[in-house]
């Protein structure tokens, strides 16, 4: 099944070189080391207002009421949340920017996403109410769950894991 490249040219010469603009338009991912984070910054206070306007209807006033995913950890729920389960703060920026709000995905500005990120991290007790989230600070937020994460420990064969 391995690729049999005998008789193949070095390159088929198909496709067009990607221009920098094309790459920039689609390259929206954000890595744990902060690569991909845009310019801009946000704070929890500003995020709270945006959250109330654009998110609370689906995730609850304080992020625990639903009807959709709990975003904030609480003592009364076992729900997996940003605070107790997410290993990287950068993921929050990445995901909210690409997929939320669910009914208007891709509609937020980078500033709005920074504010919301700051708000949700603060609501989960992970950053102060005054912390400014930007390309430098966000990757440094310590996520309690990170230490729990291990790569696949199944090594194949008869083992059940």
């Amino acid at each position: 099944d391995a690729l049999e490249t005998k008789g193949w040219p070095e390159q088929f010469g198909l496709g067009k070189p990607a221009t920098e603009q094309q790459v920039a338009a689609w390259d929206i991912d954000v890595r744990p080391d902060g690569k991909g984070l845009p310019a801009g910054a946000g704070t929890a206070v500003q995020g709270r207002a945006i959250y109330a306007a654009k998110c609370a209807s689906c995730h609850g006033n304080t992020g625990v009421e639903g009807p959709f995913n709990h975003l904030v950890s609480s003592d009364t729920s076992k729900a997996k949340t940003i605070g107790n389960y997410w290993p990287y703060a950068t993921t929050l920026f990445d995901y909210v920017r690409r997929a939320m709000p669910f009914n208007a995905p891709g509609s937020l500005t980078n500033a709005e996403v920074y504010h919301l990120t700051a708000y949700l991290l603060h609501a989960n007790g992970l950053v102060d109410s005054t912390s400014v989230m930007d390309a430098q600070t966000l990757p440094k937020v310590v996520m309690p769950a990170q230490q729990l994460f291990v790569p696949d420990n199944r090594t194949g064969g008869a083992q059940i894991r």
């Binding site: 198909l14 689609w26 991912d29 729990l148 994460f149 696949d152």
Partner: protein
């Protein structure tokens, strides 16, 4: 039904379809050939949809190919509508030549076809007796996929020798992303543009998707628009908040491979069986290789007998099994367990809990499924409590 003669004359040559059913079909000319075939009005298999997924009716199917319109669905932002003429796949990052491919470009490369299953790693439900195979594990289906091997594309763009991960990104409303090891991409990853002989269906990623034989469904990114090659994973929401499972006091991440499992598809709820000979039927599969054997128990797990496997047994593919059983009419339980060619044996839920802890969650639950045969011939799931 009108019949056009070679002379051009049109004659009345049959009756409307409904009225036919009342008649002796040998005495009335039926509808003539057409552009597209239909199902019989007596056969209307359907998926079972929720807001986020739709389950294949495994108990209604035969053989191993899933009709494309019954392939399971799992979306995170609905089905995007994509114009194939505008479709582009961007490959960039740690490559020599960042490139944009049109769909036509992709189809001009050397192509490849292969039959294998897809399965959502959240494919398990239990908890009550009135569940069908569709309810329990209908988030798996099988197709013949055709496309261009990822290795071919990586070769074309000049992938960096130190590249170790790539991001696969969809163009759905969730802009679904997963980080995948380059090694898997090189081994048997494919950008598929066809399924069961025809173009992909929109629900399965039209016009092009990633397929990774044997790996959890979510990694097989549909409607793929971008691949970014890197030397580390991107830690997207789907591979951190979701598709990870608690194992002991740790959280297991990047648990890509689907372990071996099997499911009996007949007899299962709501079938009613009769004393005498019964062919127990089902499918078995493994993300690690071929099914080596399937064993069936008709005495609630006390003893196990080998089932017959339908040939050809393909790598990482649904494999039909059959076991002929003479039921004496007494209440019992029947179950199946798959063994793959790496020596892995499908475990019980007990064994899984022992290995992972009681809080293991709902991913990669591939445990043996047991069916109660009641004395009156009714068949019910033996429910299990996953938490």
């Amino acid at each position: 039904v009108l019949l056009k003669q070679s002379s051009g004359q049109v004659i009345q040559a049959g009756l409307a379809k409904d009225s036919l059913l009342l008649q002796d079909p040998t005495k009335v000319l039926g509808p003539l050939p057409s552009q597209l075939g239909d199902r019989s009005p007596f056969e209307q298999p359907v998926r079972k949809p929720s807001d986020t997924s739709s389950r294949t009716p495994l108990q209604d199917l035969y053989g191993t190919i899933t009709p494309s319109d019954l392939h399971f669905e799992r979306h995170h932002g609905g089905i995007p509508a994509i114009d194939p003429h505008k479709y582009e796949l961007l490959i960039h990052g740690m490559v020599e030549r960042p490139t944009v491919f049109t769909l036509a470009d992709l189809k001009r490369f050397p192509s490849f076809s292969r039959i294998f299953f897809l399965e959502c790693s959240g494919n398990f439900r239990s908890g009550k007796e009135q569940l069908t195979p569709q309810d329990i594990c209908g988030l798996t289906s099988q197709s013949e996929w055709t496309g261009v091997m990822l290795a071919t594309l990586f070769r074309e763009v000049g992938i960096h020798p130190k590249a170790s991960w790539f991001l696969a990104e969809g163009s759905d409303a969730a802009v679904m992303t997963r980080s995948i090891p380059v090694s898997k991409g090189m081994e048997d990853g494919m950008i598929a543009f066809a399924q069961n002989g025809e173009a992909l269906r929109p629900a399965q990623g039209y016009p092009a998707r990633l397929v990774l034989p044997g790996w959890e469904g979510n990694t097989n990114v549909k409607w793929i628009r971008r691949i970014e090659v890197s030397d580390q994973p991107f830690m997207t929401r789907e591979e951190t908040s979701k598709y990870t499972e608690q194992v002991g006091d740790k959280v297991r991440q990047f648990s890509f491979v689907m372990d071996a499992r099997s499911v009996i598809t007949f007899p299962t709820f709501p079938a009613v069986v009769h004393k005498g000979w019964i062919e127990i039927r089902g499918i078995a599969w493994s993300g690690r290789g071929k099914i080596a054997r399937v064993e069936v128990s008709t005495d609630a797990g006390k003893s196990w007998q080998p089932a017959q496997l339908q040939e050809p047994v393909l790598d990482k593919a649904h494999t039909a099994f059959r076991y002929l059983w003479q039921w004496d009419g007494k209440a019992t339980e029947i179950m199946s367990r798959a063994v793959d060619d790496t020596g892995y044996t499908q475990p019980t839920l007990e064994q899984l809990k022992e290995a992972r802890g009681a809080n293991m969650g709902g991913y990669h639950v591939n445990s043996i499924i047991s069916w109660q045969i009641k004395g009156d011939g009714s068949v019910l799931l033996r429910p299990e409590n996953i938490r």
